[in-house]
Every structure is written in C-alpha cells, then in structure tokens.
C-alpha cells in the first residue's frame, strides 16, 4: 500500500466513525491553489491526491481536532527579489471567506487569524492598516510527527485558522476563498516584501499537531521586516539595509593585480546587499546578505569573499546557501554552516570559473554578441550568540574582495589590507590596492552601473569617470549613469 493509499484509508476511517467521533486526522493538500493573481478558490472536498476521499465527516474531524477551527497551512512561494529571499518570504491576506452549505443553506465565515501581522498600505489606498501576513521560506524539509502527513518533505509554512461554529458532518459543499493583499510596492518595504509576486501558493488542511509544529518552526520570521505577532507585540528586529532593501552594491575587479590590466573592470562583477538586524537595545543580533554574479571577463579563477570586521569576542553561527539562477532550491551540498569567532569572512563563491560560464566560455556577459546569462546567487545569515554594539562592527560596504587562484593574490578595495595568510600579498610586499598611477583594482558602484565590454577601458565607457576621479568625487558623482551605450554590456541585473 502506498503512502497515499494509506492516507486515503485513514481519511475513510474518519468518515466511517461518524459525525461525533474524534477521528484521527491526517494533514492533506488541496488540489486548488492560491493562484499567481493572488486569489484562490479552494474546494475542501478536492484533495491534491486523488486517491484520497475527503468527506464532510473528515472535515468535521479536522474541525474538532482544531478545537472549533479549521486550520490551513500555506506554502508561501514568492520570488526571491527585493528584500525577499529563499529564506524569508511573505504575503499579506486581504480577506478569506469560508462557505459551508448544509442541507441547502449556506453559511459564510470571514473571521480568521494567522501567526503574524504587519502594517501595510494596499495598492490604490492612501493609508496603512494592520493586515494578517503569512511568512515562510523555500525550504522543503518539513517533518510531521505523523509519518503519513502531507506536511512531510513539503514546504508548507504559515497557518491560517478559521473558527467554524457548526458541525460540518452534514455539509454538502465547503469552499475557502482566499484573497491576498495587493500592496503598494512603490513604497518599498514593508509593502514590497509582502506583495505577491510569484507562482501559486499551495494550501493544505492540517491537524492541530502539524499546525503547532509549523507555528513553532516560524519559517521565514527571522529575516522578515515589520513583523507583529497576533497579540500586537513587535516580534521582529529593526533592519538596517546596506545599501537598501531593494538595491545592491556592485563591486567590480581587475584581476591582473598588481598589474593594471585592460581596466575594463569586468573581470568579476558581483552584486550584493547586507541587512543588519538590531534589537530594541540597539545591538546587532543578526546579519543577513544576498547577492549574485553579474559578469565575468576573465580566464583566471576567482574566490569571492565578503568580510565583515567584528570584535574579537563576537561569536555565532553562519549559514550559507548557493542557488542556480532562478532556483530556490540550494545547490547540492548547501546550506553549509560554520562557527563564527571574531571577524566574519565568508567565501561566498569558492570558484567562480566553475559555476559561472557561458557554454564553453569563461567569459560571461562581457561581449556584445553574448546573450545574457543570469549568475548564480548566494544567501547567508549569521546569528550572533550575544548581541554586538553596531559601532563595534565594521562599516558598510564592508570588505568585498577576491582571491585569484591563478596568481595567489587577493584584491581589495582601496583602504583595505590583505587578510589571507596563504595569499602572495604579504610575501611579495603587495599590501596596497592602487597601481603606480593611483588607480584601484576594485571599485564599488551603485547598481545602475553596467560593466564595460571586454577590453574597453572604464574611462572610455564612462566619459565622466575621469572627471569624477580627478575631482576626488566632488563632481560628476553620477558618472555611472551616463555610459557610452555601445561600450557597455547592458545587463538588467537589478531585476534578477
């Protein structure tokens, strides 16, 4: 007997035990989903597994198990864009309506509760209000105490509880209509975070035990912005976003260090952002980040690091995941965890050449004739054992650097020093990161910038660059917004 057949058998057992029986309930998913337009019309008699038979008595058993509530679980399935990540995603609920038809009479229930809320402005509205939210992540490692539960190995996240004061055992039709809130995303976060922006959200009817498990799991809660608990208290951290929740730092390197090279600044191009979570006492409890590879115009292989200076007593645990472009399933071997003691130095891409290619070419997104290849991305989170004062932590944009496998040199932005004991920098006396004309080997730029085409000097691609440099940044500080369009590779990576 397959697992699904076993589940079907149990559901039938619940039916056979009659309307007042406290039958065993086994969580199951519905065939209907909340669609990408934010609306879901769920027929409670239609399980995803057609081998199951869901009767009115079965649903009544769930209601009794939930102490008078039908408890639904939602698989939050949002795009990992903006401040949403594979590890933290959210939607808001505008309304729900449970319609129950018993002996020809239809009853409507609109009351519900979820574990979290936020204060949001709907699209087209002029003010904010409190809305229930559903938080989650892209994980699919749920484990139920019931081996036959549909929760097992699923990615169900948040619960939605609907009080029902009628016996459902004689119901002829029961449906749940869910409408997600269309938020005013133009306002940035929190509205941008709690929008619905991706494919469907699966929904299940769950046992009280599975609901308790999911509630305690609280998936996606830690990194979400503006989280209020159901009792109205604030549950979340304050978040400082570097440079912001919707934009990235772009760091670009010349990898022939200590030789200048062609100065096209596309040997490696990485976009990243960091969020620092601060508690009520002003101390940092959590640091999260994400980013992706934008372009690579090199034969050499690079290791890309993000180093965040921390006090020596800092300790915690770091978790890192890599994802193929467009995927929310970590690559094999991820996530990986490691202890943090003192400075945080994360090797977020160990070997860029091996994971970022354009067919057989190691050059990606650097030539006119190349089609755009979306780069793999990373997410990391560092949970500190003890909160650390913000001023004790290095300042943004921190220290993003490469280690060039082929030459043994590390390359940092101006103002930083080599840090790797095994690099050639110290041994060869190469500890500064300017060339003999004072130019850097790494620059940090807002994400409106587009990398120059291969072999095109950055000053030729951006006519104002030299004005910016020679004025020490006092004029033409938006030089990166005015490229010679035929000399840069147009990559719409802000939308990745």
């Amino acid at each position: 007997m397959s697992i699904w057949q076993q589940k079907g058998a149990l559901a039938l057992v619940a039916c056979a035990m009659g309307p007042w029986a406290q039958a065993e309930v086994v969580s199951f998913a519905f065939a209907d989903v909340i669609k990408s337009n934010g609306a879901g019309h769920i027929d409670l008699f239609k399980p995803a597994n057609k081998a199951l038979e869901i009767s009115a008595a079965t649903l009544e058993a769930f209601r009794q198990d939930g102490a008078g509530e039908l408890i639904f679980a939602v698989d939050v399935n949002e795009a990992a864009s903006g401040s949403e990540k594979a590890q933290t995603q959210g939607v808001a609920v505008e309304s729900i309506r449970l319609m129950v038809t018993i002996e020809g009479e239809t009853h409507s229930y609109t009351g519900f509760r979820s574990q979290t809320r936020s204060i949001l402005q709907p699209a087209g509205a002029s003010s904010r209000a409190v809305y229930s939210t559903l938080l989650g992540n892209a994980g699919s490692n749920r484990v139920s105490s019931d081996a036959q539960s549909a929760i097992n190995n699923s990615s169900f996240d948040a619960t939605l509880r609907v009080p029902v004061d009628r016996d459902l055992s004689r119901a002829s039709a029961i449906s749940l209509t869910v409408t997600l809130l269309s938020t005013d995303t133009a306002l940035g976060d929190p509205e941008a975070f709690y929008d619905y922006s991706n494919g469907y959200e699966m929904i299940a009817l769950v046992s009280a035990a599975d609901a308790d498990y999911l509630d305690h799991l609280a998936s996606g809660h830690e990194g979400a912005p503006l989280v209020l608990l159901a009792d109205g208290a604030s549950a979340g951290l304050s978040w400082l976003y570097y440079p912001s929740a919707q934009s990235h730092y772009v760091v670009s390197y010349e990898d022939l260090y200590p030789q200048r090279g062609d100065y096209d600044f596309n040997d490696l191009v990485v976009a990243y952002q960091v969020a620092v979570g601060v508690g009520e006492n002003g101390a940092v409890q959590r640091i999260e980040g994400k980013g992706f590879l934008v372009a690579r115009g090199a034969e050499y292989d690079h290791q890309w690091h993000l180093r965040i200076p921390m006090p020596a007593h800092a300790s915690g645990m770091a978790s890192l995941s890599l994802y193929a472009a467009g995927s929310e399933t970590p690559l094999p071997g991820f996530p990986v965890s490691s202890a943090v003691n003192g400075n945080i130095d994360l090797a977020l891409f160990e070997s860029v050449r091996s994971i970022f290619r354009d067919g057989d070419s190691t050059y990606v997104n650097t030539f006119v004739e190349q089609s755009i290849v979306k780069g793999p991305r990373f997410e990391f989170a560092v949970a500190l054992d003890t909160p650390i004062a913000r001023e004790a932590i290095g300042a943004a944009p921190f220290d993003p650097y490469i280690y060039v496998h082929d030459t043994g040199y590390e390359v940092h932005m101006v103002g930083h020093s080599p840090v790797l004991p095994y690099s050639n920098n110290q041994a060869s006396g190469q500890t500064g990161f300017r060339d003999d004309q004072g130019f850097p080997f790494a620059i940090l730029i807002p994400d409106e910038w587009q990398p120059p085409l291969a072999a095109v000097d950055i000053g030729m691609a951006y006519p104002d660059f030299m004005n910016f440099v020679e004025s020490s940044g006092t004029v033409a500080n938006d030089w990166y917004r005015q490229p010679q369009t035929d000399r840069v590779k147009s990559i719409r990576f802000r939308e990745w």
Binding site: S83, I119, Q121, S127, R128, A129, A186, L187, G188, A192, P225, L226, L228, G232, S234, S238, L240, Y241, Y242, P243, S244, A245, S247, P258, Q259, G261, Y263, E280, G282, T362, Y363, F367, E369, Q370, A396, P397, D406, T407, G415, H416, G429, G432, R434, G438, F439, P440, I443, L444, I445, P446, A455, D457, G459, M460, V469, E470, S472, G473, D478, R481
Partner: protein
Amino acid sequence: MRLTCFDFRFVSRARARSARIISLPLLLLLGGCGGGGSGAGPVTSLPVPAPAAAIQDAPFAAQAATGSAIAHHIAPATFDFNNFRTVSLTLNLVEMAADLAGELYVVKVSDSASNTLYLAVHEVVGNLPLELSVPLAEQRLWLEVYTEVSDQGAVIKEIIL
C-alpha cells in the same frame, strides 16, 4: 573625511498621499557624514613579474579598439574611489511620534527611489542613531513615522544631504 553636509527640511513627499507634514523645529540631530571606508591605505607600487600565462584573450569577436582614458592620468592620492558615503544620523523621534497616537511606531528611512534603508518598529521612541550607506549622487533621504492606527497617516520629513 567627514563633512557637515545636511540640510533638513519639512516638505511634502508627493508620492505619499497620506503624508501629514509637520511644522516643528528640526528633529534630527546631525551626526555627521563622510566618505566610506577608512581613507587611503598604504600605496604600494613595486615592480612585479608578469603574469604566469597569457590571459584575457577574447574568445569572441574583438571589440573595437577604444584606447585608454586613464593611461596618462594620476589619480588623487587621497581619493578612495568610493561611490557611496556613510551617513550618520541621530534621529530625535519624540516630537514626530507625539503627533501620532499608537502603541507601535514604525520608523522608516528611504531614498528618493523609495528604496528602504531602515525599517523598524519601536514601542518607545527617542534618539535613534543610524549609520547608512548612500550613493554620492543621492541628494536626499526620507524619514517616515507611522503607527498601526490607520487613519493617522504618516509623518514624513525630507532629509537633504
């Protein structure tokens, strides 16, 4: 390099339809601003051997030759090439919050493109020190305070950098 470079104004934020603009004395306490990073590091330019192997050969059609814009220039020795600056603010939110009634106060700082730089919920508001990272080309930020009470709108203030 740290500069005193702020000018705080109370003006309407056109895109925030619910904004109520306060006409109070300046509520922000200037903390300062300056270039990011720690300034120029030691400049070391030593003769070095050539790379071990020929590299960077274009696998695709060669680009049009463009020459070099920087070949005959010397960069200012103290310039750090940073396109971002660190902005340190101390926000005194007491008076802004006093204009609103609620149990939770949402404090948000965003830039002119509505990108969110800071987002928090506070039960008590007071002096709030923040260190932000802002593109040099960004001219202003927006400070917004609102509560869970929906009909109060938000108190919004423009911060001129």
